[in-house]
Amino acid sequence: MTLIPNTGLIDTSKSRRRVPLLIVCAYFLVALVTVCAILGAALAPYAPETQRLLVGDKPPSALFWAGTDLLGRDVLSRVIFGSRTALIGPIVVAVSGFAIATLLGLLAGYLGGVVDSAIMRWVDFMYALPGPLVAIVVVGIIGGGYWIAVAVLIALNAAPDTRVVRSVVLEQRPRPYIDATRALGISRWRILFIHILPNILPLVLAYIILDFAFALVNLAGLSFLGLGVEPGTPDWGRMLYENRNILFSNPVALLLPGAMIVLTTISMNVIGDWLFEKFTK
């Protein structure tokens, strides 16, 4: 398994016995963000778009726990509502990116030959592109906002994932059960999707979670450049863009969404790595 990085963060000898504390924390944080995304309206102290121009940008107080931004909007409420775009886009990117990658990776790995080399040339090509730059330029010029950004990230994400799936399929191919299915005269498609796919699904799941982290950072990055979500949407990356000039008056308006981006990404990376090591043992 040369392609797959072993981060060594999780002590696997212990993880067999019980779930490490780090993983528990990561799961807890992801659960918290999910709850915020679903029950945002019930949890947030104010409506995220209510403007109080007379209040302006104030540091945290008893009324506004995380202070307010330039338009007097409550930062805490905006961070809570921001968990929606922070979850939905990355989920769509990770799942659909991997669906494409799984299909292409299965085909490339199992069929080999011309199909394999065609798919792998495409992967090489995508690898050589500076991904974030492509996303910035395409999203910026089309000017399509959030969902165009999601679509571009799916395209960029599918290539490295295809390589991963292919390498796993190549490992399955010489196994006796594949020979057995062939000897039984089972069709190619049935072998691919009924026999090989279930064997590689756990790994795919671990990678989907790692892809989620990648997509979260990239979508937040586009929003930070003012290119992702529509203006006015409560979004962590967008908050960093809108509040970049109030670092002196209310630093929490930048530090809180920034911390949320980093913490959610770390949690996803840690969970993904942990699942990965669990499944490869």
């Binding site: 050589a128 500076p130 000017g143 960093l240 530090l255 981006i261 990376n269 790595d273």
Partner: protein
Amino acid sequence: MQGSALLRFILQRLAIALPLLVIVSFGVFALVHLAPGDPARALLGSRPSDPATLAAIREKYHLNDPFLLQYWKWLWQVLQGDLGTSIQGGQLVTFAITQRVGVTLFVSAVAAVIVMTVGFALGMLAGFNRGTRLDRAVVTLSIFGISSPAFVTGILLLYVFGVLLHWFPIFGAGHGFLDRLWHMTLPAVALALSVMAVLVKITRVAIIRELDKDYVVFARARGLSRSRIALGYVLRNALIPVVTAAGVIVVALVASAIFVEVTFALPGLGSLTIEAVQKRDIPLVQGTTVVFSGFVIIINLAVDLTYALIDPRIRYGKAQS
């Protein structure tokens, strides 16, 4: 025999890099038509729109020609070093780029030095001390590094060292070498932190993989000193995957530089690209994209060739790739 194997490898890599340049240039050219609406109007910018001006723009950008002919004419101009004029302000795109590229090169170079020294040292430290607390600490730090985008790290650094401690200036590029270095410290550190984790990870894994090999056991059995084994054999062999990763690292540096420049309001090529994208200044976007992606492709090619030169398996034609 050796020469021909090396030559074949170089030709193989060129066979990937050259079509890539063509495809990328085609994509960049197609940006004009990707923008919503009439390309002539997109290229008009803030000038008054009357039929005569529009016709002049169509003429100037060859918009009346068939698509592929337009591309060919555009590519021919680019190959001669003519990237057109910016819509906003009417500046030559090449001039705008040469004015801004210095800051980007400076900050990326400082960041690259930090990544190569600190990142490599940390990876080595973790790799040679596998399984210890030190290893675990480095790995945990690198997970933080991988998960923290440069714009968040940048804001945190700005807040702590600029606003709270007043150690570093919070915007501007500075004049003269030392002043510039002072202004660029925080941006370079933010850039380095976001990229370093990749190198730490690769170095650590490469060293661990080498330490597991039989020749290390044999060398130990023969009584060679630890430092001799580490520096003379393990490190040298571990360098190969690290050098291969240089391409990934350069791509990451270039991409993160865009975010760092915007975060710290530095007048570099990255912030120029973002300004151009926000103003829909298509010739300027095309220009900076050509420079960025050309740079990335050429660096990747150079890395592949270096790899061929340092890895004897490729030099003697034994590698399969």
